[in-house]
């Protein structure tokens, strides 16, 4: 089992957490009801060490599961040893994108590096589908190295589905990101398009 994009992961997560929520609410409600009954008997006994083993399995297993099913985890950890198909470098300053590539078209299956650098505040870099769901994001911190060169904030991403994505800053950098009416001034509609895949992104 592998999630080929974040939309699949988010749908899976929605279902799994909803089931868990219904279960925990039901268990405590049932427990509360039986607390008041004189003749209430244990339906099942959960030994302490079994319970702890379940928690350990949940805590550790969750990360093992995501490492093996979400492709961008290992790619992110080893990104500096991977040669991308293309690299796009740009900067952010005064709530504006500087040198942002235009009409970005990516072929299906390409691995792209986005390298964002900030000249003033903490921003974010996030790509969104047309239905508003998040494709990927990272924080963009300002900072320079000893030579005064801006620190990179880089992310590597492989696109496996066709789609048109909008861009905006995902981190709050002050109200100047918006105009008087609340319109997001950093939003770039149709920032990039992925083509050549057999399937759409959602």
């Amino acid at each position: 089992m592998t999630f080929s994009n974040s939309a699949e992961l988010l749908s899976f997560h929605w279902v799994a957490y909803t089931i868990y929520s219904a279960m925990i609410i039901s268990v405590i409600a049932w427990f509360g009801y039986n607390l008041t009954r004189k003749d209430a008997k244990s339906v099942f006994r959960l030994p302490f060490y079994t319970y702890m083993a379940i928690l350990v399995a949940g805590g550790v297993g969750h990360h093992i599961f995501t490492y093996n099913t979400i492709p961008w985890v290992s790619q992110d950890i080893t990104r500096h040893s991977i040669t991308p198909d293309a690299t796009y470098k740009f900067e952010m300053q005064d709530h504006k994108w500087v040198n942002l590539p235009k009409n970005l078209k990516v072929q299906c299956g390409q691995t792209i590096e986005f390298d964002a650098r900030s000249r003033d505040l903490v921003y974010g870099f996030g790509l969104f589908r047309q239905d508003g769901t998040l494709v990927l994001q990272m924080q963009v911190n300002p900072g320079t190295d000893v030579n005064g060169i801006l620190d990179p904030n880089d992310i590597l991403w492989t696109f496996n589905h066709n789609g048109v994505f909008d861009l905006t800053s995902t981190e709050y950098s002050g109200p100047a990101q918006y105009d008087e009416d609340g319109k997001d001034l950093m939003r770039v509609e149709h920032f990039m398009e992925v083509v050549g895949c057999q399937e759409g992104d959602k």
Partner: protein, 558 residues
């Protein structure tokens, strides 16, 4: 007619019979719930703004980014510090003398604490209201020192407000430790070392070790009761957190003062990522340190008070509190999983692995509490028991929601979305923490008010259900919006997530109405005269309370 009488005189509340400890506790509680009302109104304003222009009934000024984000900045300050800190500190400055059967170290200091936190919260709120200072509670460097966007004077007022809150917090910490280490009463013959060992839960660890090696227990009667151990331990994190926030405040203050004097400093001297690490290490001690430890201690206290029985696996619980302290110091990197400059090993060890330990420590607290209750059945379903179960549900939902996101794969699509702030933070605070605190309020109510009769049990029940459903509902609908891509620190004015936000707003309204019903019930119980009387000097200067904790359990027997 009867309601008017109750409104003025209450049921049988007589503030003149309260001693100094009871009065100072109630003062903090009153301020806490007033701030709770303010934070609920602020929350509702933000909820309504994001419902979009066709639904939002508020004037357009609330959708203005300056206004919206200044509300978002003070919302957690008022909620966490003005309300929660105030309520927790008030309760603990009552509980430590109550459980140790010793007087509180200083009533004057306890008064200083609630006044400092109240004044500090009001100052921070005014900075946002008048100057629209809005760097948010995260204070990501260099935003709080960005005078191109914010008024420097507003920033100075805001930082002074937060500093006063932290000074009050340090006063609370001093009062708690000075009370615990007082060599009077049952602790007359105890040494500081014995109290320290017990305070850190090390005696529980020794007891477990002795049991495993077949030796007699290290101590049969630990020097400090388990809830006091939790307070002792959680207060370590409260101290560290106060120091970090004060440190960050001083940094911002220096920059703002230089700016006002016409000699602005270079903000790039401070590394933004390093600052984030420092700030999150401290701030996370609130979320993953003192809250979880205080909550675990409160569950243990409530379970033992309600059942009148010893806590199940007490030694394990004592030792786990020590473990939780160490865990809370090493988990901050889960806030930095989306920061690509953060070393991968720190993300992996601190952000993922150590953070996952919280599933164990909080799961353990849940297990111990449930088994303690189960072994004492049948129990009467009193208000305090209902709220305690509500609190358990809250953390049962909120902790896994956070553990799920503290993962390098999930964080890529959940970081900074409504998922974490609603499905985790709001459910943890509104349902988990506040339901636990409401349980403590109901359990302590007769002791702190000298057996004042609550005006209406119907109102108490309506409050419980509206609050529970509203709290879970708001968290759930907000969380779903997060999965749909809605960011948490972002302004949406076009109704982008309209349906879920309307449902979240309806749930939020239930919380606000529930708060009003609770407040009305309290006012009708103590009366306006009594409410004012709480703030008048106590005739009885006693700083302790004489009822044995064991007597509370009698009220819960079927």
């Amino acid at each position: 007619m009867s309601i008017m009488k109750n409104l003025i005189h209450g049921t049988n509340f007589d503030h003149t019979t309260l001693n100094a400890l009871q009065k100072v506790t109630l003062r903090a509680v009153v301020m806490s719930f007033l701030f709770y009302g303010l934070v609920a109104v602020e929350g509702m304003i933000m909820r309504l703004v994001v419902t979009g222009p066709e639904v939002n009934p508020l004037p357009s000024m609330f959708s203005h980014p300056d206004h919206y984000f200044s509300i978002m900045t003070v919302h957690p300050i008022v909620g966490i510090f003005g309300s929660t800190y105030q309520l927790v500190f008030g309760a603990f400055m009552f509980l430590v003398p109550f459980l140790t059967k010793k007087p509180l170290y200083s009533i004057k200091l306890a008064n200083f604490v609630w006044i400092m936190i109240t004044v500090g919260t009001v100052l921070a709120w005014l900075a946002a209201f008048f100057y629209q200072y809005a760097p948010l509670y995260t204070l990501y460097w260099p935003l709080p020192a960005d005078t191109a966007q914010f008024s420097a004077i507003g920033g100075i007022v805001f930082i002074l407000g937060v500093a006063l809150i932290m000074v009050g917090t340090l006063g609370f910490i001093y009062n708690i430790y000075a009370t615990i280490f007082q060599k009077v009463g049952v602790h007359k013959d105890k040494t500081t070392k014995e109290l320290l060992i017990s305070g850190f839960g090390i005696d529980g660890l020794f007891n477990l070790w002795h049991k495993l090696t077949g030796r007699p227990p290290y101590t049969k009667e630990p020097a400090l009761a388990l809830p006091v151990v939790a307070i002792f331990r959680g207060t370590v994190d409260t101290f560290l957190d106060a120091i970090v926030i004060l440190g960050a405040g001083i940094l911002v203050l220096v920059y703002l003062i230089f700016d006002v004097s016409g000699h602005p400093l270079d903000v790039s001297v401070v590394d933004a990522l390093l600052y984030k690490n420092y700030f999150w290490w401290g701030l996370d001690l609130v979320a993953d340190g003192l809250v979880l430890i205080y909550v675990a201690g409160s569950w243990y206290l409530l379970a033992t008070l309600i059942t009148g029985q010893k806590l199940f696996m007490e030694n394990v619980a004592r030792a786990a509190l020590m473990l939780e302290l160490l865990v809370s110091w090493m988990v901050w990197s889960h806030h930095l999983l989306a920061d690509q400059g953060q070393p991968e090993m720190m993300k992996l060890i601190s952000g993922e692995m150590v953070t996952a330990f919280e599933l164990l420590t909080q799961g353990l607290a849940l297990f111990i509490t449930l088994v303690t209750l189960w072994k004492a059945r049948p129990l009467k379903m009193t208000m305090e028991l209902k709220y305690l179960l509500g609190g358990l549900v809250g953390f049962g939902l909120a902790i896994p929601a956070a553990i799920i996101q503290a993962d390098m794969g999930m964080n890529r699509v959940l970081h900074n979305t409504q998922w974490i702030i609603m499905a985790h933070v709001h459910i943890a605070l509104i349902v988990g923490l506040y339901m636990t605190l409401y349980s403590a309020v109901y359990v302590l109510w007769p002791i702190v008010t000298n057996n004042t009769k609550m005006f209406s049990s119907k109102m108490s029940n309506i409050h419980f259900w509206m609050y529970l459903i509203g709290g879970i509902g708001m968290g759930a609908f907000g969380g779903m919006a997060g999965l749909d891509g809605m960011l948490r620190r972002h302004l949406y004015v076009d109704g982008e997530f309209n349906t879920l936000m309307i449902l979240a707003a309806i749930s939020g309204t239930m919380i606000l109405v529930a708060w009003f019903i609770f407040l009305l019930n309290i006012i009708l119980s103590v009366g306006l005269k009594g409410l004012i009387g709480i703030f008048l000097p106590a005739q009885d200067p006693t700083a302790s309370y004489g009822i044995e904790p064991e007597t509370i359990a009698e009220n819960h027997k079927v």
